[in-house]
Each structure stands twice: as structure tokens, then as C-alpha cells.
Amino acid sequence: MKRTGVFVCHCGINIAGTVDVKKVAAELARHPGVVHAEDYVYMCSDPGQNLIIKAIKEKKLDTVVVACCSPTLHETTFRNVSKIAGLNPYRCEIANIREQCSWVHRDKSKATQKAISITRSVVEKVRRNESLEDVSVPVTKRALVIGGGIAGIQASLDIANAGFEVILVERSPSIGGHMSQLSETFPTLDCSQCILTPKMVEVAKHPRIKLMTYSEVQEVSGFVGNFKVKILKKPTYVDPDKCTLCDECTKVCPIVVPNEFDMGLTGRRAIYIPFPQAIPATYTIDEKACPGMFDTAIACGKCADVCKPGAINFDMKPELVEVDVGAIVVATGYDLYDKSMMAEYGYGKYPDVLDGLQFERLLSASGPTRGRILRPSDKKEPKEVVFIQCAGSRDPELHWPYCSKICCMYTAKHAMLYKHHVHDGQAYIFYIDIRSGGKNYEEFVHRAVEEDGVLYLRGKVSRVFEDNGKLIVWGVDTLTGKQIEIAADMVVLAMAIRPSKGTEELAKKLKIALDKDGFLAEAHPKLRPVESMTSGIFLAGAAQAPKDIPEAVGQASGAAAKAVAILSQERLFHSPTVARVLRNLCTGCAMCVNVCPYEAISLKEGKAVVNEILCEGCGTCSASCLRNAIQVKNLTPYHIQEMIRACLGG
């Protein structure tokens, strides 16, 4: 007969407020095999833990159940407690009577009954648990960083400076991300490229960073410490070692397509360098645009003709590179919400309705207008500019319910910089609330209002339409209750921040979760904000939620520190609750071999054999075995059957 101890936590009133914890302990004390049951106000506190240790020793307990919060929170705590008391940690189990019981029910007697059922079933499970030792695996001391914006750059530099190799994968031809497109940054008005490009150069020159631009992650397998990643290196058709950046090729290229870097305000050639400071400093042929790349016989080849160093190679092929890494940082950033979704503001219809990033390009000294603010339609200086905040944000009915966080600040910056360029112009900002939480942010907004005379109007814009060469903006000022009509020369929309295109696909490859709005989900919103739910995969930057540069950089350093904590281990320990084959029952039918997602099972001498390092303990094999010959340790069909019986009171 087992000697089981049951410890019921009150969690203050979090559990005890709905569940009669004394009754749970009393009922469980009568459960066969339970030799000790008690309740305590906070089991996770020091006295609570000591109480468990004391009981294990004094009552010679061989199995322990703690009825408390979710195992995601304190399973490790209480397993360590068991270990201290000399009990194998796998002989301790958690009954979740808080998240899945007391917090979701109000009826005290029903919740108590449910808590008893849950605890009983866990008691029946733990009684059948065996003592296990962790499986130890070596760690690949290399990190993968996905996304070469400011967050990815910072994470790569931090990990590399800690002494580990980094592979930085970026899907576009250059690193730099959206930060490289910005003119100035709030609240200091620092030049964005001036503070970013030194970091880009540092990445390129770092002996421990391997930069893979124009590359995409194709496939990820493995687990923390031992990921295997397949990266597709797309052909650029230009040999970066030979290219001298003479720019002769773009002069002869006959093709013009919208320039992504300038947000479509200008064109670029099919062979191009995204921007002068691009890293790596080389050209790329956009195979979708280049006529030489079509299967049809049109082969232009003009760029190759003028390329003196012979850097152009039309025969370059996509390359699949396989790498082993121990940790992964995902920093895939954001895109702006598709402006065509906001037809009422006339984007796409009127050339002088721009989004925030397009306005950044107009402000930028390296932009299409060399930093002069001119209307795209007639190249005239706009004298009245209307900025519309929350375009797509904070709009649960039609668009996105969340606040995009950075738009209040960058709109204040836009309006301010506009006034610095066009002294006699007037800037209007339609806002719902001004959210300027951040160091020196509030002061920055005041500066826009007081020094630059930016006019803030509290209310939403219903419509933008063209009349007689002007953009008529219809809105309402909710502070005065008056309708407002402004005849503007330009309208700038602060579009909602969305996770960058392809985030969902990448999340699937990485097997990490998305939140309800499509951003990458963190493991815990308060306490594990840089970790994904999958061990060894960390999150940085706007891919997790809208955030500004300092926050993205801070999170990137946090993610890097977490990655380094893994890479600096010699070995990692992985749960021993893996599959086991009962050889006398196994017929060698290989059903388990076929269903195993990790290729952890093979047949040897006509019997299934499990590779414990590869096995993740999912149990898919066990459900497919007709003879129960393969079972996950401590969660065998026998365990589950007994749990079912106990929770139904049979």
C-alpha cells in the first residue's frame, strides 16, 4: 500500500474563497492509501514548503499531491520540495484546483465537490508513478535570430558578445528593418539611421555573427538546446564579393517597380540596393521583376553586360542550409495595417493620403524628396496637414481592438517635424486619447503643442474626400461637440501596427502560439514576457506586441539573456516522462514508428525501441498501440484509467 500525502493550499482566499479546503483535506484523508492530508494558507511559502518536508519525513510518505494552482506555476517548486525531503520529484503531482476550479466557479459546494474529484484523480495517478531521473542532453552552443530589425540586431549582438555564435536570418536583402526607414526618433529627434547603422555595421563585422539576408526559415525541428533548422537562401544573382557598388547596373535596367523602402513613393529597378547603407552592401536582382528571370525567352542581361567585375550570375540557385542551434530568438517585427481596409479615408484613391511610414520617408533626408515635404500629387508644399490617429486601432467593431501604442508619439513627432519644415503650415491631429507614457514622452507632446502650435482635436474622422484639389476632412471635436471640416492639402494616417506578413506561418513552423490579434504569444504576460510557450524559443520586438524602439531593444536584450542562459549550460535536462516499450507485449507492427512526430521510435530485432533524447513524451504512440505495449512513463493508460475511475467516484 502506498503512503500518500495530500496538501491543500488556500492560496489566501483565491482557493479557500470558493472551495472548502478543510473539507477537501478531510475527504482526501479518508481516501484509500492517503495517510496524511492537511491544508495551509500558502503551501508555496517557506512555512508551507517546510510543512510538506516535515510530513514526508515523519509520515514516511512515498507519494505527494499538492492541490493548488496550475502545474505551470508551482509544479517545479513542489517537486523540488519533495527532492529536498528525499523523495523522487516525479512522485509529486499537482492537482489544479485554482485556475480550473476555484477561479471559474461561484457555487461553493459544487466547486468543493469538483476540487475533491480532481484531487482524488491525481492521488490515484501519483500512486502509480515511478521514480524517474531526468534525461540529460548536450547543448548546441549557437543561437538563431530570426528578423534583422533593431530587435534582431540587438539580440544578435548581445548573444555574440556573450561569446556564442549567432546566425541572423533576414528575409529582405538588408538588415535594418523599419527603423532604417525612419527619419528621426521621438522624443530626442535623434536621426534614426545615424544611431542604427553603427549597429548594423557591428553585426556585419562581428566574428561570431553569421548574417544570412534574403533568407527564410523553412523548417524547424528538435527541442531546446538541440534545434535543427533549415534555412532557404534565396538567390540574389549578384556575388557580393565581386560587387563593387558602382551602380552601373541600375542605370541600364529597364524595369521599374515600386520601391518598398520608400513605401511605394518612388520606383526602383529590378536590380537594386534597398538603401545606400544597406548591410550587406550589395545588389539584388528581384526575380519577380526581372525579365531575364522569366521562363520565356526574354533575357535582357543588360546589367550583366555593364558589370565590369562580373558579379552578376543568372545561374545562382536557391540553397537550403541546415544548421543546428540551441536557442532561437524570434524578432520578426511589424507591418502597418493594410490601408485599403480604411476606404473611408481615401487611401489608394487620393495620392496625398499617406500612412505614417510614407510620411517618414518624406521627412527623411535620404527619402524621395530629400527631406522636403511635398505632396506626391503635385510636388507642392502642403500648408494644412491633418494627422489621423488610431486608424484601425482601438476599433473593435471594424478593425482591431488594441492600442498600437507608438502612434500617439510618432504623430506628435510628425506634426512637429512638419512644422520645422513648413513654418507657415498648420498641423491638425485627430486623436481619441493621447497616450504618452514613457520617459520624456509627455514633455515631447507638450513641446509639439506649445512650441510648434500643433492643434489637437479630440475626436474621430468619419470621411476624407477630394474637392477642388483639397482633401476635405470631416470629423467631430468631442470636447466642443462641434462638427469640423478641414480643407487639407495632405492627410497622414497612423495605421494600426500588425505582426509582419508571414508571422502566422513562421509561428506554425516554430510551433509557438499566436495571441488573439495575431501577435506572438508570450509564455506569461507578466512574468515571462520574452519567452514563448516552447522552451528555448524567445520573443523580441514588435512581433510580440506593438512597441517602440527602446522597448524593442530592451526586450531583445532580455531575450538574448534568456538564450545565453541556455547556451551557457553544458547539458540540459529533459523530462524523463518519455515513452517506454514493454517488449513482451510488442509485436513489432510499427504503428508507433509511423505516428511518432519526432522519429524517436525505430524497430530493432522486431521490437520497437525509443530514443529517449528525441522522445518528447506526447503519447501519440501509446494511443496508436493496440496492445498498450508502448506507454509514456507516469502517464500510462493505467494511470489515466485510474484517474477516470477516481474522478467519477467509481
Partner: protein, 140 residues
């Protein structure tokens, strides 16, 4: 008025999505009926048809199996196996005359606390008019 029938439901929740989603419902203090008793499994793909028969034979009035969304399985493809295997179980149960509402599958991610509560509410509401499940209950 007679008191409403309170069905007893065993819910097999995968650790990574559905149990985490149920935890989120708790953290967010969403409310749902206390008729379910959760059993955490590693993956919906580990749920053997025998577990469902076992729960019914021990007197469960309903069984729920909930996993990660198809394509989002923490174990790559376990939930695809669950979906196929359990669809057959469902057919079999219906063939032997069990009301289809008594065995259900759902996909709840770690961020879908609200969806989880809704599924439980709907399940309980559907099972209440059916009364106790006696078809497969073991008779002593």
C-alpha cells in the same frame, strides 16, 4: 420546478493549448459550470479511444477531448491523429445509439480562455436535456 440535471463530464485537455486555455479562463476569472472534471494529458493525440469508453462506462454523462488547433499542435501533428481517430470513435458511439452530443472534440488554444468557457457552457446546456447516460454505464 425540478432541479436541473447536472451532467458529469470528463474533459481530456492537452497540456499545451487547451489546459493552458482553461488556465487562462481561470486567471481571467471567467465563469463556467462546474460539471467538468479536467484530466490533463500531454497531447490530444495520446487520448486512446479506450479512455472515452472507460469514462462512459464509469458513468460520465459526457466526454470532451480538447487539443491545439489543427496545424498548431505542440507535438507537430498529434492532434491530426486525434482528429481522425476520435472521429471514428464518434461514429462508433453514434452507431451503437449514444447521443452524439455526449462525446465532443474541440480546439482551444492557450489564448482562448473565453472560447473554453463557451465550449463548456454549450456542452453542459446540450447535455442537460439528455439526462443521465446509461447506455454504456457499467452495471454492477
Amino acid at each position: 420546478m425540478a432541479e436541473e440535471f447536472e451532467p458529469r463530464i470528463v474533459a481530456f485537455l492537452c497540456k499545451w493549448c487547451s489546459s493552458a486555455g482553461a488556465d487562462l479562463a481561470g486567471v481571467s476569472r471567467m465563469e463556467y459550470p462546474p460539471n467538468i472534471i479536467p484530466i490533463q494529458v500531454m497531447c490530444s493525440g495520446s487520448v486512446s479511444p479506450l479512455y472515452i469508453f472507460s469514462a462512459l462506462s464509469h458513468g460520465a454523462d459526457g466526454v470532451l477531448v480538447s487539443g491545439c488547433h489543427p496545424g498548431d499542435c505542440h507535438y507537430i501533428k498529434g492532434n491530426y491523429y486525434a482528429r481522425r481517430r476520435l472521429a471514428l470513435v464518434k461514429k462508433l458511439l453514434e452507431y451503437i445509439g449514444l447521443e452524439p452530443q455526449r462525446f465532443q472534440m474541440s480546439w482551444v488554444s492557450a489564448t482562448e480562455g473565453l472560447k473554453f468557457t463557451q465550449i463548456i457552457k454549450d456542452l453542459v446546456r446540450e447535455l442537460q436535456p439528455l439526462g443521465p447516460q446509461n447506455k454504456l454505464r457499467r452495471k454492477f
